[in-house]
Symmetry: D2
Subunit: 309 residues, 4 copies
């Protein structure tokens, strides 16, 4: 007998996880650290900077909040938040890294922004020089050494805006995912939130929950980049050939994990699945894939959760 993840009523068995896999993709990643006078202002800025970052099928690039940073981790000793930005196209990542800082950080009171990509994995750098960020200084900005970093010190109405001269980018892993199939929206939502709370504690990854699971291209709209993952839509299970939705499933959410390397993405998927499969009302855990043809790698779900009776 296993205690339910949310442990009130004991549940006899966690749900069996499908013998399947998800495909993951290599993408370019940046990791930036936004600091401010208080954690609250750093968070406000980070919320703005991660905006419009939820889907890889349309610009702007992906962007997700990783976690709060301790003041002892930040170059300027102030509270901060870590943001990951990702794109399969390097030039898109470079463009949106600059735009996210320009629109999401520069306007927010007391903020500064530093590179937080792990040094050992840096492959390229994005220079702030000649971007709208550096140009914002209109010649009053200075390239200086501060807080142990090479930064631009750009005058702003509340003082100086400090931004690192270069931001490292390197390869990371995008698109790790699993599907929570449940008997109700409530069951699926609670299972999803439990999974995300667990994922939050794995370093170097970000997790999110999506209702808009998609397939590549479209059957009817063949020109579309991505369309609804019809075989996992309970609302149309009677209209879809080969629907994957059984009669006991009324709601499906996808948990998606990005991260700087495969090992941490796998760890995050493991703790997420372990949580979700123990929530009452969850009927099945599976994953979306493209027959293994598209991804640059794959994660077998059963490798994560071990043998099951």
């Amino acid at each position: 007998m296993v205690e339910e993840g949310s442990h009130p009523v004991a549940k006899e068995d966690p749900v069996v996880v499908d013998d399947t896999f998800c495909e993951v993709f290599t993408a370019y990643f940046a990791r930036v650290l936004i600091t401010a006078a208080t954690s609250r202002w750093a968070m406000e800025s980070t919320l703005e900077a991660k905006g419009l970052g939820r889907s890889a099928t349309l610009p702007p690039s992906e962007a997700f909040i990783e976690r709060e940073a301790r003041t002892t981790e930040t170059p300027d000793g102030r509270p901060g938040w870590l943001l990951q930005i990702a794109d399969r196209k390097r030039n898109e990542l470079e463009y949106w890294l600059v735009a996210r800082i320009r629109k999401g950080v520069l306007p927010f009171p007391t903020t500064a922004v530093f590179d937080a990509f792990p040094k050992e994995n840096v492959e390229y750098s994005v220079k702030i020089e000649d971007t709208p960020i550096q140009l914002f200084g209109d010649g009053f900005e200075e390239a200086v050494e501060a807080f142990g970093r090479r930064v631009y010190r750009i005058p702003r109405m509340d003082g100086f805006f400090y931004v690192e001269e270069k931001f490292g980018i390197g390869k990371g892993v995008s698109g790790g995912n699993f599907l929570i199939m449940a008997d109700s929206q409530g069951s699926a939502l609670l299972a999803g939130e439990m999974a995300l709370d667990a994922i939050k504690e794995i370093p170097f990854v970000t997790g999110r929950m999506a209702s808009s699971g998609s397939k590549v291209g479209g059957h009817t709209y063949t020109e579309a980049v991505a369309t609804t993952n019809d075989v996992y839509c309970p609302a149309i299970s009677d209209k879809v050939k080969h629907s994957e939705v059984g009669r006991d499933v009324n709601c499906v959410y996808e948990i998606i994990v990005n991260g700087l390397d495969l090992e941490h993405v796998k760890s995050a998927m493991r703790v997420g699945i372990e949580k979700a499969r123990c929530a009452r009302g969850v009927k099945r855990i599976t994953a979306g894939n493209y027959g293994g043809k598209l991804g640059s790698g794959r994660i077998d779900l059963r490798d994560l959760v071990g043998k099951q009776s």
Copy 2:
């Protein structure tokens, strides 16, 4: 004697407001209502959908949260939040309205999205047909009447995503602003938050606080679209000709107000200024303008706050 806005220690006089004006601009606006099963999920979605909307000088278009909507105001009787999206260029607004819904609403659990632009002011419509939103349905979507609206009902893994077929757009007012000049960051931040709390209660407007006040173009970087408003930067007051920063000012924040019409923008500016000018440490209230040459209208600050001794 006037009680201080934050009223502990009585303050003899609120700060005198400069005899100046701000320029405002006509822009195209959309106003969308994002609903969800709970207010919390509607808010999460709205926070994502407003992302990267803080500056008019670089796409994506401007976007700001107006307020929470009562369930009695929403077509589907669920909790919701109102989002304003604005751009001086109509095609940019149309593009980003679609992108903001596609990336900020569709992926979020249980969400739906409706047009909330005042009917009497609609000049154009943005059709969802043939956009990545409608195409997401891959032929499984249906155009139906629901909740008293013409909507697409698009299958999604957690049920159906309802999105109105057309979103009204019309002209509104962008860029109303005033500057809070204070003796410290703390004084300026508190005054700014007090102003924004008051502005939140004026209908049809959105307010925000910015540290990155800018001027059009640049003196040194002449090709730049917008650069730091150097004359209001305390950190470089000794390097700037004609600095507007007196010795008693160490921090300046700009309060910016957008809205669907001039009257509400003016009301919002009035309540914001009344709050900010009573906060201790605020030394001066003024506004940025371009000599009246750029804007499509102007708001005189003294018209807002009445005669002053």
Copy 3:
């Protein structure tokens, strides 16, 4: 066919509501308005002042947040939050009203506190004179007229603390409730949150969700004031005689509504039930009562939701 409350997958029928009633109790109520320089500080204070207010079976008195107040509603024109405090014993209410202000409001930066009980229903007044609040002033406090009210102006390190001289109390309604019985924790939680979001929009009431439904006294521990409502506990349905928990129910939450009068409590229960009964996974809506022997009034659930097939 009815759209599900959270409306993704259409659901054929909302759950039938039991033909039963809840008992309600007359209690003494106070209603206080906590203001501050910003809405955030007013909320922080209100969160502290409402603490330990969740159960009527043990002091401190009940206390719940009603809603945010508009600055146009507050005497001092500042942001505020409304707090209801209730107790069946008048002297307990009087004691804890003072303690909640002393410990929940006085220590918080920039706060003030005013009476917000509807004048027409006031039966008694609680005087601040000679309480630890007035005495805090140590003779430096003054009874003055400010903001159109008779207040004490008490010096505090950040200025003055304004507190109304008298707070009205009168009779209100406590203990309106219904039970959400669902197939999973997730289903019950989502239904409960949907109900609470709807209840929040009814004026003069407060709602909360409880897992600790109780019965008066105890079977085994006969001296206990209140013990677990065993017939509604799914985890022990096989050990309880006359369990009300069917095989399809694994989780039950109670929605409890207090309010200043019966009409608003009924309105709140109606909108709450309408939301909860449409959430998938909810199997039954019922209410706890004591055979009509204890309460000073009763609310029939079917009067609220109308005729059902």
Copy 4:
């Protein structure tokens, strides 16, 4: 030259800290860990359980949130929050520990509660047996071993409520404090928030900001337990003999630190003072004391911040 804590405009010198000390008091402490299915529900419960815990001069006992706990730290592997409860009187602590759990944890969906007091410092235990918490089970509860702890498993409508059988208590340190004296409310608030953000990262302590600094007893109201710290009230500096408030100070906040031992309290005060003294507008850092007569220990501010020019 030192960068300002909120680092925009460089500030020449952090404020000199007074050559004084604060008195600290030995008090009994409990430390409880509240877990739930999600971090959000654990936090909601913890917010309720810490209510009315802001002042030591009136029951209920002191109570403050320490920090979020990682799921790897919690016995049941769920998200959680740590709460410290303190009282100089052991019987008061024991009473309110039970009441805080009964009213702040038991009613909240999916919660459980465990002892988190460091084992090596436990001096006494509070038993849950025969309290309203155990009695709530009405004989259906069981004393079992679960999650590696001896707990009561008490049936509740959403499953079982797990509560540890005994909670350790031991001696800790209460009342560490320093005063931030600033030119405006805004300056003092920002400095205080910066200090609290830094204090949050020191383990085993809790910090809060208070406007209601008090002295023991009263000059005019001699029977009062605690009255306003008149010598630090700017609003009455002209009425108070020996006022400590200079002409440049208009607002004072007290930062108060409790903790499980003196070393961590000192560390917390050090990082808090270092932040606050660098905020512009702060004019003086000092501390309240009673001439060293009342406390069981003292902390010299200059020991914390080192030599100053």
